[in-house]
C-alpha cells in the first residue's frame, strides 16, 4: 500500500520540465551558475536555496512574532516624528525647486502654481534619554521613546495609496503576491496550532479614509493555509467558524471524522497533497472553535490594562480594542498580527483630522509596547507602526495657519519599530531641513522587509518559493538588512 502511494506521489511530482531541469545539472551548469551568482562558492553563499526548509528559521531568531500597526492612508511625518522648525519659519514661501528636484507629483497637486511650505500646526517635544522629537499629537508614544526606534528615512516607489500599500504588504506594487504575513507563516510555520499563523484586524478613524482589500493579506502563490485570517468585531469574530444551530461539538466531531475518512479515500486514489491540507484546515478550524472565544474575551483584563490602552479597548472594532486583541493573539503564538487603521489621508483639513486620528491610536499603540514589555514579551515580539508613504511639506490647496492639507510624498517619511531585537531609544536616518529628501541612511521598502525577516531568523535571499517557473522572494531581487537599527 505504502509503495503504491509512493509511486503515485512520484508520478505527481515528476513532470517533463522537472526532468529536463534535473538533466541539465552538470559541471557546466555549476560553472555557469557560479558566474551568474558570484558568491555561489564563497563562504557566505555555500548553502544553496534548496536547503531552505519551510517552517525552520535559517538562524536563531530574535523576534518570534510581529505586530504591524499599519496606519492606512499615510500619516504625515511632519506632524508626528520628523520635526522641521524650518518649515514654520518659511511658512507660505514656495518650496525651492532645487529641493523638489525631479519628484513627480500626484494629479492632485501637479497643477498647483505654488507650493507653499507649511510647518506643523502642532508643537514638538523631546522625550526620554534618547531626546527624540515627537509631536504633541502623540504624547503617549513620546513616553515610550526609549523603547522604540524611529526611522526618519524610509522611502517607497509608489505615490498612490493602493500600489504603495500593496508594496509595503507584499513587496510588489501590482498585487497577487503573498503578503508579508503569509511569507512569515510559510517561513516559520505556526507556533500555536490552534490559531492561524497570520491574522488581520481592521479599524477605521473619522479622517479621510482609503480602502483596504483582502488582496493585502492574500497568500498569493503560497499554500492557502498561509492566508491572513480576518478577525472582525462583533459576535462572529471569525466568519463561518461557529456551528450552525442544532449542531453541537460532538456532532461536529463525528461529521469531521466521517469527512476525514472520505477525504482519505480520495487522497489514496489521487494522491493530491491539497486533500490532506484541507483535512488539516478542518481540524484547525475545529480547534479554533474553542481557542477563539477565549482570545476574544476581554472581560478578564484588569482595570490597569484598560486604563493603559484607554477605555475604548473594550469597544469592539476600535483601534484600541484591536491593539489589545493583537497582544492577546500574539501572546498566544500568532506569528503575524496585521492591524490596519484607516483614515490618515489628510489632503485637506489636516490639523483637525489628524488630531482625531492621533487620538484614536496614540495611547493604545504605546500601551501595546508597554504591555508586551511588562509581560517579558517585547524581546521576542517586533512591533511596527507606520503608513504607506509620507506627506508633502507644502500645502495642498489653500493654506491657512490652522487649516491646510498635505499631498502624498513617497520620497521620505517616518515609521517606528520596537522590540524583537531592534535597538531601542534611537532615531535612525535623517531628512533635509525641509523634510523632503533623505540625507542620511535611506531605508527602502525592500530593506525594511529584509530587516523584518532577518529579525525572524529568515534570510530574505533564501526565503523563496517557485511559482510559474521562477523563484520569488518578498524582497524581489533587492533589499539589505538595516544593520544600524539592530541590537
Amino acid at each position: 500500500m505504502a509503495m503504491e502511494k509512493d509511486i503515485l506521489e512520484h508520478r505527481l511530482n515528476i513532470n517533463r520540465r522537472r526532468f529536463l531541469s534535473r538533466l541539465s545539472l552538470g559541471i557546466g551548469s555549476i560553472a555557469l551558475g557560479s558566474l551568474l551568482i558570484p558568491d555561489l562558492f564563497s563562504g557566505s553563499g555555500s548553502e544553496s536555496e534548496a536547503d531552505f526548509i519551510p517552517g525552520i528559521p535559517n538562524f536563531a531568531p530574535k523576534a518570534k512574532r510581529v505586530i504591524y500597526l499599519f496606519q492606512d492612508g499615510a500619516p504625515s511625518q511632519l506632524e508626528s516624528f520628523d520635526y522641521k522648525p524650518k518649515l514654520r519659519e518659511m511658512m507660505g514661501q514656495d518650496l525651492p525647486a532645487s529641493v523638489r528636484g525631479t519628484q513627480i507629483l500626484t494629479g492632485m497637486t501637479a497643477n498647483q502654481t505654488h507650493f507653499p511650505l507649511v510647518g506643523s500646526f502642532y508643537d514638538f517635544k523631546q522625550y526620554g534619554e534618547s531626546r527624540a522629537w515627537v509631536s504633541d499629537l502623540f504624547p503617549h508614544i513620546g513616553k515610550i521613546a526609549d523603547d522604540i526606534c524611529i526611522i526618519k528615512s524610509i522611502y517607497t516607489e509608489a505615490i498612490n495609496h493602493d500600489p504603495a500599500l500593496t508594496f509595503f504588504q507584499t513587496g510588489a506594487q501590482q498585487g497577487n503576491r503573498p503578503s508579508m504575513g503569509s511569507w512569515v507563516s510559510y517561513g516559520l510555520g505556526s507556533e500555536n496550532k490552534n490559531l492561524p499563523a497570520f491574522t488581520v484586524l481592521l479599524s477605521k478613524g473619522k479622517g479621510n479614509g482609503q480602502g483596504v482589500y483582502s488582496k493585502l493579506w492574500s497568500n498569493g502563490f503560497l499554500d492557502s493555509i498561509h492566508q491572513g485570517v480576518q478577525f472582525s468585531s462583533g459576535e462572529n469574530p471569525v466568519l463561518y467558524l461557529n456551528d450552525q444551530p442544532g449542531i453541537d461539538r460532538r456532532e461536529r466531531r463525528k461529521m469531521l471524522d466521517k469527512l476525514a475518512e472520505l477525504n482519505d479515500i480520495s487522497y489514496k486514489e489521487f494522491g493530491d497533497p491539497e486533500i490532506s491540507a484541507k483535512v488539516q484546515q478542518y481540524e484547525m478550524a475545529y480547534r479554533m472553535q474553542s481557542a477563539v472565544p477565549e482570545i476574544m474575551d476581554v472581560s478578564k483584563e484588569s482595570d490597569d490594562i484598560i486604563k493603559m490602552y484607554g477605555p475604548d479597548c473594550l469597544v469592539p472594532g476600535t483601534y484600541a480594542a484591536n491593539c489589545l486583541l493583537a497582544r492577546k493573539l500574539s501572546e498566544n503564538g500568532v506569528r503575524f498580527v496585521q492591524l490596519y487603521h484607516q483614515g490618515w489621508d489628510q489632503h485637506s483639513n489636516l490639523p483637525q483630522e489628524m488630531a482625531g486620528q492621533a487620538k484614536d491610536v496614540d495611547q493604545a499603540s504605546a500601551a501595546l509596547v508597554t504591555d508586551l514589555k511588562q509581560r517579558g514579551l517585547l524581546d521576542e515580539t517586533l512591533v511596527i507602526w507606520g503608513g504607506e508613504f509620507g506627506r508633502t511639506n507644502y500645502s495642498q490647496g489653500k493654506l491657512e495657519k490652522a487649516n491646510y492639507g498635505r499631498d502624498h510624498h513617497p520620497r521620505c517619511f517616518s515609521i517606528w519599530m520596537a522590540g524583537g531585537g531592534i535597538k531601542p531609544g534611537i532615531v535612525y536616518g535623517e531628512s533635509d531641513e525641509f523634510g523632503y529628501n533623505i540625507v542620511k541612511d535611506p531605508v527602502h521598502v525592500h530593506d525594511f522587509h529584509a530587516t523584518i525577516l532577518n529579525q525572524l531568523g529568515l534570510d530574505h535571499k533564501k526565503l523563496t518559493f517557485k511559482s510559474q517557473g521562477r523563484r520569488y522572494r518578498l524582497t524581489d531581487v533587492a533589499g539589505n538588512v538595516v544593520k544600524g537599527i539592530l541590537v
Binding site: 528559521p57 535559517n58 538562524f59 531568531p61 507556533e191 490552534n194 469597544v315 509581560r375 517579558g376
Partner: protein
C-alpha cells in the same frame, strides 16, 4: 636555422649577463639606480613571463632528451639548445630588471631575499647546465635532476614574486578565509577588531615588514605612530590634518591616492571608520562598548562585529532524535527547532484544559535540548517547577499567569544558563525572587503584577546590577475620561413604546440620563436601569460616571414614534438614482440614516420628491413627520415646502397640510431633523400623497453658486 655567429654572440651575452648579476649581488647595496633606468626595472613583472614559459619548455625537452626516439633527432637537439639559450638570456635580463626594481623604495624583507636568490639561482643553474650538457658525464640522471631543479626554482621564485606584488595569499584569498571570525561587540576593541582589519585587507600588502612603500609599515601601534617618509601618519583627534585621511581622500587619479589605482579601494564605511577613529584620538586600546551608544564610530563599527547578545548561541549538546520530537509534538505542545541545524528546541504549551503535569514530565526525553519554554497561563503548580529545573540548558522561561507561588521558585536556581524569566501575574514574594536572582546568567526578570512592592523591586535592582527587573507600567495617576455610553437598540422608531437599551463597556459605570433636553449631571439625573421604556418622541441625553474616572461626553439620541405603517409606498416622482437607497420602502423601514448622506439610507433629489402611500384599512392620521437632512456646505437644503394630500381614494384627495420650513441661513448646522406636518382632518385616510418641494432659487450666499440644490429624507413617521 640560426647561424653559429649569432649563437656565439648570444652565448657571450649570456656569460656577460651572468657576470653582471654576480657583481650586482655582491655590491648591490652600494649601487644607486639612475632615474632613467627605473622604468626598465619596472618592466620586470612583464618580462618575467617569457623566461618562465621558454625555460619550462626547454626543460621538458631536456627531460626526454635521452629517450631512444629523440636521441638521434638533430632537430630535437638543436631546438632544445636554442630554446635553452633563449630562456637563459631572458632569465638573466629579467633578473637584472628585478634587481633594479628591488632598489626602489618599499622592497625589503625575507620574501624579497628568497625571490632574489631563487631568481638568480635560475639564471646560474640554467647557464651552468647549458655549458655542461654536451660533456660525456652528462647522462639521463643528471639531465633530469638538473631540469627538475630549474623548474622548481622557477616556480618558487615566481611564487615569492607574486607575494611581493599582490600580497600574501593572493591566489587563494577569494576562497580561503583563514580564521576570519566575527568578534562580538562586547569584547571588541576599536583598533584591533575594526581598524586593523581594514589595514590588513587594503593597505598591508604594500606596507609590511617585507615591503615598506613610502617607508611606511602598518603592522602595529608603533609602526603606525611612527609614520613614513613623508612624516607622521596620524594626528590624534585631528583627522583633517592627518596624512592618513588626506591620502585616502585624494581623487583616485592622484598619484598619491591610497590605495593605489588598480588595488582594492576603501569603502565609504571604511573611510568613515578611519576618520572617526582618528577623530576619537586614534586610541589603540579603547573598547567598542566604551563609546557612547549613539556614537557614529560605534554604530558603524558594530556592523563589522557580531551583536553582543549571542544570537548564534553555541549549543554543544547533541540533537534529539527527530522521531522522538515528532512523537512528543501535538496540537497543544508544540516543539520546534530553534534554527536550522541547531540542536536546541523551543517548547510552547497551550490550552489550559488539556494541560497536566504529565505534559511537562514527558519532555524529560529532550531535557537537554529544551532552551526555551513557554507555559504562560497554564495551571503549572510549584511541584512542576522541579520538572522544569531538569531542563538544564534552559535559557528563556515564561511562567506568566501560572499557578506557582514563591515557594517552588528556588528549584530553578539550578538552571545555570537561564537568561530571561517572566513571572508576571504570579503571587511571588521578594525572598523567592532573591533565590533566583543568584543565577549568574540572568539578564532580565519580569515582575509585573506580582506580589512585590516597588520598594522590594528597587532593592532587588540595587543588589543585582546585571539583571533588569521589569516591574510595570506606571500610571501617572491622572484620572482618565470614560468613553461614551453605547446604545444597543437596532431601531429608534417604534409604534407603541421602545425599551431603551444602554450599556457601557466598563464595569461599574453609572449611566445617568435626561429626557427634557438638559445635560445630565451626576446627582439629580436619573440612573439608567434596564427596562426603561419610552412611549413618546423623546430626545434622550446620557452620560457615564464612575468614581476615579472623568465622566464621559454626553451622548444624545432621539426616539421616534410611528404608529402606522402604510401597506404600500411608491414614488410618483423618483429620486436621484445615486441616492435612492432601497427604494421608497426605505422611508418606512425604521432605519434612520444618521448624518452621513452617503451611507445608502438617504433618499435625495435635485427636484421635488413625490411619494404615494396606501393603507389597506383607513387610519386616523394626525401628524406626519418627515425626517430631512440639512448640510449647507454640501448643498443639502431642507425642502422649502411640504404638501400633504389625502383622502379615501386616489381621486378624492384634499390638501391636508402645507408646511413651510424656516428659510435656510448660511450658518445653519449640519443635522438631520424631523419636519412635523399637522393634518387638518378628522376623517380616516386610505391614500396619501406627500410632495417635498425642492428649493428653486439659490440663496445669494450659496457657497457653490451653482444649482440645483439637494433635498434629502430618510424616514417618514405616521401618527
Amino acid at each position: 636555422m640560426i647561424k653559429s655567429k649569432h649563437k656565439s654572440f648570444a652565448e657571450n651575452l649570456l656569460f656577460a649577463l651572468n657576470i653582471f648579476i654576480i657583481f650586482f649581488l655582491l655590491f648591490g647595496s652600494d649601487i644607486v639606480i639612475p632615474q632613467w633606468l627605473q622604468p626598465v626595472g619596472r618592466l620586470h613583472p612583464l618580462i618575467l613571463h617569457f623566461p618562465i614559459v621558454v625555460l619550462i619548455m626547454a626543460m621538458m625537452l631536456e627531460f626526454f632528451r635521452f629517450k631512444e626516439r629523440f636521441s638521434t633527432e638533430k632537430l630535437y637537439h638543436d631546438f632544445t639548445t636554442y630554446l635553452w639559450l633563449t630562456g637563459a638570456i631572458f632569465a638573466a635580463f629579467t633578473a637584472i630588471m628585478g634587481l633594479f626594481l628591488s632598489k626602489e623604495p618599499g622592497y625589503e624583507g625575507s620574501t624579497l631575499q628568497w625571490h632574489k636568490w631563487l631568481g638568480a639561482g635560475v639564471v646560474f643553474v640554467s647557464t651552468i647546465i647549458y655549458w655542461c650538457r654536451s660533456a660525456g658525464w652528462y647522462n639521463v640522471k643528471v639531465a633530469r635532476s638538473g631540469a627538475a631543479v630549474v623548474v622548481l626554482s622557477l616556480v618558487l621564485a615566481g611564487h615569492f614574486g607574486a607575494d611581493l606584488t599582490h600580497g600574501d595569499n593572493f591566489v587563494l584569498a577569494p576562497v580561503w578565509h583563514p580564521e576570519k571570525k566575527l568578534i562580538p561587540v562586547d569584547r571588541a576593541l576599536v583598533y584591533r577588531d575594526v581598524i586593523q582589519p581594514i589595514f590588513e585587507s587594503k593597505c598591508i600588502s604594500c606596507h609590511n615588514l617585507d615591503k615598506t612603500k613610502g617607508g611606511l609599515m602598518l603592522i602595529d601601534e608603533k609602526s603606525i605612530l611612527k609614520g613614513g617618509k613623508d612624516g607622521k601618519l596620524i594626528v590624534p583627534g585631528q583627522p583633517q590634518i592627518s596624512l592618513l585621511l588626506q591620502r585616502v581622500h585624494l581623487v583616485a587619479e592622484d598619484k598619491k591616492h591610497m590605495p593605489p589605482a588598480g588595488k582594492p579601494q576603501l569603502t565609504p564605511d571604511e573611510l568613515n571608520l578611519l576618520y572617526l577613529w582618528v577623530k576619537d584620538n586614534a586610541d589603540f586600546k579603547k573598547k567598542v562598548i566604551d563609546l557612547p551608544v549613539h556614537d557614529s564610530l560605534r554604530l558603524i563599527a558594530s556592523t563589522y562585529l557580531k551583536p553582543a547578545e549571542e544570537t548564534e548561541e553555541k549549543y554543544d549538546f547533541a540533537a534529539a532524535d527527530d522521531k522522538l520530537i515528532k512523537k512528543l509534538n501535538n496540537n497543544y505542545r508544540v516543539i520546534f527547532p530553534l534554527a536550522k541545524e541547531s540542536p536546541a528546541l523551543g517548547v510552547n504549551i497551550y490550552n489550559k484544559s488539556t494541560y497536566q503535569p504529565k505534559t511537562l514530565e514527558e519532555l524529560s526525553a529532550v531535557k537537554k535540548q529544551v532552551v526555551s519554554l513557554d507555559v504562560s497561563k497554564m495551571p503549572v503548580k510549584d511541584a512542576e517547577l522541579k520538572t522544569i529545573a531538569q531542563f538544564e540548558n534552559l535559557h528563556v522561561l515564561n511562567l506568566n499567569f501560572t499557578d506557582i507561588t514563591g515557594s517552588g521558585l528556588k528549584e530553578l536556581a539550578r538552571l545555570k544558563y537561564l537568561k530571561l524569566i517572566s513571572l508576571a501575574g504570579t503571587p511571588l514574594n521578594a525572598t523567592a525572587v532573591k533565590q533566583i536572582s543568584a543565577i549568574k546568567s540572568l539578564t532580565k526578570i519580569t515582575l509585573w503584577d506580582t506580589g512585590l512592592t516597588d520598594a522590594e523591586v528597587q532593592d532587588l535592582q540595587k543588589h543585582n546590577k546585571n539583571i533588569e527587573f521589569i516591574k510595570s507600567f506606571k500610571d501617572d495617576g491622572k484620572p482618565i475620561k470614560l468613553n461614551d455610553p453605547q446604545l444597543k437598540n437596532t431601531t429608534l422608531v417604534f409604534a407603541k413604546s421602545i425599551p431603551v437599551q444602554l450599556s457601557h463597556p466598563i464595569k461599574g459605570v453609572e449611566l445617568r440620563y435626561t429626557t427634557d433636553g438638559t445635560n445630565p449631571d451626576s446627582i439629580k439625573s436619573a440612573i439608567y436601569k434596564p427596562g426603561l421604556e419610552l412611549a413618546q418622541n423623546t430626545s434622550v441625553k446620557v452620560k457615564a460616571y464612575k468614581s476615579g474616572w472623568l465622566s464621559s461626553d454626553v451622548v444624545q439620541f432621539n426616539v421616534f414614534k410611528s404608529t402606522y405603517t402604510p401597506d404600500s409606498i411608491s414614488f410618483i416622482a423618483p429620486p436621484n438614482t445615486k441616492y435612492s437607497a432601497d427604494g421608497a420602502k426605505s422611508l418606512i423601514d425604521k432605519d434612520l440614516g444618521g448624518t452621513n448622506f452617503g451611507n445608502g439610507k438617504w433618499i435625495a433629489a435635485q427636484k421635488n420628491i413625490e411619494i404615494y402611500m396606501q393603507f389597506a384599512r383607513p387610519v386616523d392620521l394626525h401628524t406626519i413627520t418627515i425626517n430631512c437632512l440639512r448640510n449647507i456646505g454640501s448643498q443639502i437644503f431642507l425642502p422649502i415646502g411640504i404638501e400633504i394630500w389625502g383622502g379615501a381614494d386616489l381621486n378624492h384627495m384634499k390638501l391636508l397640510s402645507n408646511v413651510i420650513p424656516p428659510d435656510a441661513k448660511k450658518d445653519d448646522p449640519a443635522m438631520a431633523m424631523g419636519i412635523d406636518c399637522k393634518l387638518n382632518t378628522a376623517k380616516p385616510i386610505t391614500c396619501l400623497k406627500i410632495i417635498a418641494k425642492n428649493i428653486q432659487k439659490l440663496p445669494s450666499w450659496d457657497p457653490v453658486k451653482k444649482g440645483p440644490e439637494w433635498a434629502f429624507m430618510d424616514e417618514i413617521f405616521l401618527n
